[in-house]
Symmetry: C2
Subunit: 434 residues, 2 copies
């Protein structure tokens, strides 16, 4: 007798929609931390988020069906925080601290709904904007990216036979496990999952997170994905992102406010968070400029997250600055999170071992590395450098310079104005793969 | 909502027995060809088959539970040919010939039941004999071996967590597919599955067979497993085995009959089969002796299956003999089947390319290669050299000498008598891995 569960098979093959994002907390933890700050300190600021595909040769509008994209975005807009999720956010300890979210904030978030989106096509690309209050539009960043990335992989998967799919995932699992085994050799390693936005799929991210949990044990310090953290009893990790200084800089009414913006963000942040959440993200307008003008108290923060310079050079620059400011780097924390894979993690770990505390946020190459896994090479299985960035705040253009000019975003004239203002020293062009 | 099919889950976790052998034709095709010959020409001969574990350091009686072994053997004894199977055997074309099985034979086989077994333990090993008519006991060889081998792997699997199992099979699939990709590079390759007896499990053999079918297409010429051939629309392949000359030699009443036995087998065989089924298995009492004394007509047969000499040396010996007998090797077929893996297949293929027709029977390293696949090395995942050989015929001891003294079977005194009779020239000791 063949054992096929009829209901399951029918369901698998005929359901109306297979949602990609099924929960409002299937997002990065730092979005919630930032959201609370925005809700509290900048409730009336408008911010537009916009999709930017840096991989201009990949014609997303050809790869992904617009109807499917709209269905997924609409489904995400139908989501509300579940009771279980609200209770968990209120009752769980984050970074060793209970009640990190204020009851008033959680009460507001319980009714939260993703705002409307504006979608069109132009030149083979999707033009996707989210207009509205910053405290609403900010929450689109991660679901928008994970929806588009998963629709891209689903489009590939539809073209493959059952057997090819089987071999594909078998190889991806074997490849991932080989990485796990290499990471095991690093005593005291601290690594977490930062791969939500560019994951191959939700289920694949979950598999990778479970692989790390099983494979490297306590070296796996958590996941940025709030839903996976809740479901798998892991720490939810993450701090803050470029959107904070980008918006504050856009809102600046004069040069003094523009110069102060990167540090004003830190003051705002410190009103809400402490300890290991005091992590500086220095590269929004160039790390060199940030360090050059930083007040002394910035050196008292727990650590830095260099996010666009090569990890060894970027780390050395910050260590050198700590020394100059009279702080002991061995008491400090560096969080590396830009385009990491196992080789870069091991090299960086070995380079800084014993000289500074380190932590690694492993993203795209954790949750979307299928290179060499398909029986034939499939271009659209490769992850692309797709971001969803704040483009305007209160109608004024927002800019990111980054330490890597290729990661800069914003209108060209504004980028040049910021470059004249902050200076471009230390910025080095590097290929942006993911 | 979590989607777990309750009935399936309960069934998976509570069934009384998960049978290993579920069909009488889950066996090697050559057993059916030989069975018809035995049934027709030697219906009253008694033959005892006995389990021989050449891997004496592996204590099978410790690894496998006796109760489970008995349950599986008893279950195999409960099997009867199904209607579908009988119709397929009668209606299918084998080796390009229809009605290869006589209606009287199939009618008799429809009522066939595996005979009783005799099981005990001694020194950490199972002592397992099958006594009775040759035409009944012969059918135990393959199910007995595949039951014991799968019980061995199941015992390992029971100790592994779900995640470890997942990685194990993912790696095994990736490993298998890497082999498939290497075999694709050989134009005109002909390879078939000979891996039933030492398979990791039935489901794994089926996966490997499907991988070959998908991966190398027409280069995959079939499977020795009759059930898989039927279910997957593949050719059933195989010819004859050592038991034929072993029994005929044991029955010999004098030196002349003993000397004639290896050739008498071929005469008997030719009464029933022709074409590509005319394959000589020359090594039962040593290939050198066989070729030395072979009548001229043996060189008219389609091909040889060297089964215990190293493939290149063994093939050259037979090619040389064909030349000496005035036959053109390019018209002849060599079937290689001993302990092959991809390296040996490629080397042998390259060595003989254009000089002789070739075919490869890929066994244990196809269906039971999990080396390096478990997160930690597990000794009992390694296949062992386990055979089930005819040990007596009509009460007289049966012997196999083989080209590799380590593969010899039989009582030591009898082995020595056979060696004096046939001579030991050309026999070279080699490690027996599987």
């Amino acid at each position: 007798m063949t054992k096929t569960d009829i209901a399951t098979r029918v369901y698998n093959h005929t359901w109306k929609l297979d949602p990609i994002v099924r929960s409002l907390i299937d997002t990065d933890f730092y979005k919630l931390l930032m959201l609370q700050m925005i809700w509290k300190q900048y409730p009336d600021v408008d911010a537009t988020f916009s999709l930017i595909n840096r991989a201009t040769t990949v014609r997303l509008a050809d790869e992904i069906d617009e109807g499917e994209l709209r269905e997924q975005l609409d489904y995400a807009r139908s989501l509300r925080l579940s009771k279980k999720e609200a209770i968990w956010l209120a009752g769980n300890t984050f970074y060793g601290k209970s009640q990190i979210f204020e009851p008033e904030f959680l009460s507001w978030f319980t009714d939260f709904q993703l705002p409307e989106y504006e979608l069109s096509k132009k030149g083979g690309q999707y033009v996707l904007h989210f207009h509205g209050r910053w405290k609403e539009t900010t929450m689109w960043e991660i679901p928008a990216l994970s929806i588009i990335n998963e629709l891209r992989s689903r489009a590939v998967m539809k073209s493959l036979g059952l057997f090819t799919l089987d071999v594909l995932y078998a190889r991806a699992k074997a490849k991932m496990w080989a990485k796990v085994e290499r990471l095991r050799d690093l005593p005291g390693l601290r690594i977490s999952d930062f791969g939500t936005r560019r994951r191959h799929s939700f289920l694949w991210q979950r598999w990778c997170v479970e692989a790390l949990k099983e494979g490297i044990g306590s070296a796996f310090t958590g996941t940025s994905n709030v839903l996976l953290a809740m479901d798998s009893d892991l720490e939810a990790v993450g701090t803050n992102a470029h959107e904070l200084p980008m918006v504050l800089a856009a809102l600046a009414r004069n040069d003094a406010e523009l110069a102060a913006a990167p540090y004003q963000v830190l003051r705002d942040w410190k009103q809400l968070y402490g300890g290991n959440l005091l992590i500086v993200l220095p590269d929004t307008f160039g790390t060199a400029a940030f360090l050059r003008d930083a007040p002394d108290w910035v050196a008292d923060w727990t650590g830095f997250r260099p996010d666009s310079a090569p990890p060894i050079e970027g780390g050395e620059e910050i260590i050198e600055w700590w020394r100059k400011m009279g702080r002991d780097p061995r008491q400090k924390l560096l969080i590396f999170s830009d385009a990491l894979d196992v080789d870069a993690i091991i090299d960086t770990y070995r380079h800084f071992e014993g000289r500074v505390r380190m932590s690694f946020g492993w993203g795209t190459n954790l949750t979307n590395d299928f290179a060499g896994c398909a029986p034939r090479e499939i271009e659209s299985l490769k992850p692309i450098s797709l971001v969803c960035k704040v483009s305007e705040a209160n109608g004024r253009p927002a800019v990111k310079l980054s330490d890597n000019p290729r990661k800069a975003t914003g209108e060209q004239a504004e980028i040049e104005r910021y470059l004249r203002f902050f200076g471009g020293s230390g910025r080095v062009e590097q290929p942006v793969v993911v």
